[in-house]
């Protein structure tokens, strides 16, 4: 800045320079604050802090060499302007900084030209003093105007920034809410899915139970029917047996009578031979009739409700009887089915106090399952496979063991845990009630105070072990 009294050349003046340094410091402060240099350009900020140093150096330099010039402060200020311009260029990405650059540029240019002309062409300045003055005034106004513009820009930027920050915050809040809502929806969905699954499985279970109950009801009525039929068959069968028996007696009597009669030896022999055949036939009729009777008795016993009275029972006989009953029952349904029946009875097993019908029911169940298992494995068509069902008894200290073993399909581990549960069945719907083994388990454990255990190897076979206290 040139003042009229400073225009006189070659006159050393500290005061103007000492006056310029605080101005520079002041401006530096303003710029620092305005542009927030500590954050935006830390290195430039430190430089701005030391803006007085070159001023003092200039003063010292001038004092030392007794420089008779008033242009020193002009140099210093130009230096300060250039520093500012450098800073503004550095921060050109910040819009207010660009505006400040625009504000300062004409004035700095003016200062530069004035200084230059002051050095090289003093006369020229004097001649165009007015022009320079108006240029100076114009550039000062320009500077102030753009400084204001920069200030407004800064403010609007700050407002923008604030708005953007608020928007960001709002967005973040919404995002958090969204996440929370999504989490809640997911939770609710999972809960609903669980409920739906539970309901579905309950429904399936109910349907299965219903089907099984219908089946059980059918079986019960079939049982009654069976008992009725058995009774109806029993009476004619009794006649068959009795007449056959009495016919044997009659044959015997006839034989005695024939012996008394006088006849040719050959005729008598022939008569006696016919009599013997007749008698033999009657025996056969009686024998097979008895066989039919025992089946009918089995049917009756099976359908009869437990009397709840324990009777001394021959377990070997009972096991044998029911093994045959089960086998023939299955053969009646499937003529092609064939299996080897093995019995290993321990003669040391004496009569044991049991509920014969109930125990019979258990054995029938186990045998039926065994036959079913070997039948299933047979269907796989393994070469050389011989379906075998084995029943064995053994007298142990304080207890009797009945083992029913088959070489069928075996029971997988996960199924084995459930086989004694009521209504659990692996058979197709309608073929099994899922009550057989659970009933058996109850009969053995609750009814007899014994145990019913199972051992099985998948693909090899299964063994059920009944232990009864004896």
């Amino acid at each position: 800045m040139l003042h009229p009294e400073q225009t006189s050349r070659m006159r050393f003046d500290y005061t103007s320079l000492l006056f310029s340094i605080p101005i520079a410091i002041g401006f530096a402060r303003l710029v620092k604050k305005f542009l927030d240099t500590p954050k935006r350009a830390p290195r430039w900020d430190r430089v701005l802090d030391k803006i007085w140093i070159p001023g003092l150096v200039f003063v010292g330099f001038a004092a030392l060499f007794q420089l008779q010039t008033k242009l020193l402060d002009e140099f210093y200020l130009l230096f300060v302007y250039l520093l500012f311009i450098g800073l503004f260029v550095r921060l050109k990405n910040y819009k207010p900084a660009r505006t400040l650059l625009l504000a300062l540029a004409p004035f700095a240019l003016y200062s530069f030209f004035e200084l230059l002309l002051n050095v090289v062409a003093t006369d020229f300045i004097k001649e165009y003093d007015d022009t320079f003055d108006s240029w100076q005034g114009f550039s000062v106004i320009w500077m102030i105007t753009f400084a204001f513009i920069a200030r407004n820009q800064k403010r609007s930027l700050e407002v923008d920034l604030l708005q953007r920050e608020q928007e960001e915050q709002e967005k973040r809040r919404i995002a958090t809410q969204n996440t929370e809502l999504e989490r809640m929806v997911a939770e609710r969905t999972a809960a609903l899915t669980r409920q739906a699954d539970a309901l579905q499985s309950a429904l399936t279970e109910l349907r299965t139970t219903q089907a099984q109950l219908i089946q059980a009801e059918k079986m019960a009525s079939l049982g009654e029917l069976t008992a009725g039929i058995a009774h109806e068959i029993q009476n004619p069968l009794n006649f068959v047996n009795n007449f056959a028996e009495v016919s044997v007696e009659l044959c015997q009597e006839l034989r005695e009578e024939v012996e008394k009669v006088e006849l040719a030896e050959a005729d008598k022999d022939y008569l006696l031979e016919i009599l013997s055949d007749l008698s033999h036939n009657q025996l056969k009729i009686n024998q097979h009739g008895q066989r039919a009777s025992s089946i009918v008795r089995g049917m009756l016993q099976h359908s009869r409700a437990s009397t709840g009275e324990r009777q001394p029972t021959d377990l070997n006989g009972l096991a044998d009887e029911y093994l045959r009953l089960a086998y023939h029952g299955l053969r009646a349904k499937d003529k092609t089915f064939n299996a080897t029946l093995n019995t290993t009875f321990d003669e040391a097993v004496k009569e044991v106090e049991v509920l014969p019908q109930d125990l019979g029911r258990v054995l029938l169940n186990l045998f039926n399952n065994a036959f079913y298992a070997v039948q299933q494995r047979q269907k796989n068509g393994e070469p050389g496979y011989q379906p075998t069902v084995t029943v064995s008894t053994k007298q142990l200290p304080q207890k009797v063991e009945i083992r029913v073993r088959d070489n069928g399909t075996g029971i997988p581990e996960e199924v084995r845990q459930k086989i004694f549960q009521p209504f659990f069945t692996t058979k197709p719907t309608g073929e099994g009630t899922g009550l057989g083994l659970s009933l058996s388990y109850d009969i053995i454990t609750k009814g007899h105070g014994g145990t019913l255990a199972v051992e099985s190897q998948e693909g090899k076979g299964t063994e059920f072990i009944i232990s009864l206290p004896a």
Partner: protein, 132 residues
Amino acid sequence: MKILVVDDEVDVRVLFEQRFRREIRSGEFSFSFAYSGEEALNYLHEHVSEVVLILSDINMPGMSGLELLRHIREEYPGPPVPPTPQVMMITAYGDDTSRQQAMQLGANDFLTKPVDFAALKSKLISLENHEN
């Protein structure tokens, strides 16, 4: 000894006649047959003093064996006059309730079908010896 057999099965007659052929021939036993409870009661009204033993089936159409038993015990309460016959019940249902019912009504014995004729014969013989 006169025995009345009551059963709805007609073939019972043939069976008994053959089973006890020798005893009938020797005059040891004589059998009469009735095919229903009603028929049995009618027969008794005419021949009460003759009949020593009645063998009756329980399950018969019309009057059941147990009803027949009740009638007999009501009509012929026993000694001294008129004499009361022995009654044995025969049934295919050998359960305890039927047996107890029969015994309560005054049956002398209770047999289950199929009848063991050897055992029946020995019972009859011991009864006859007792009579004499």
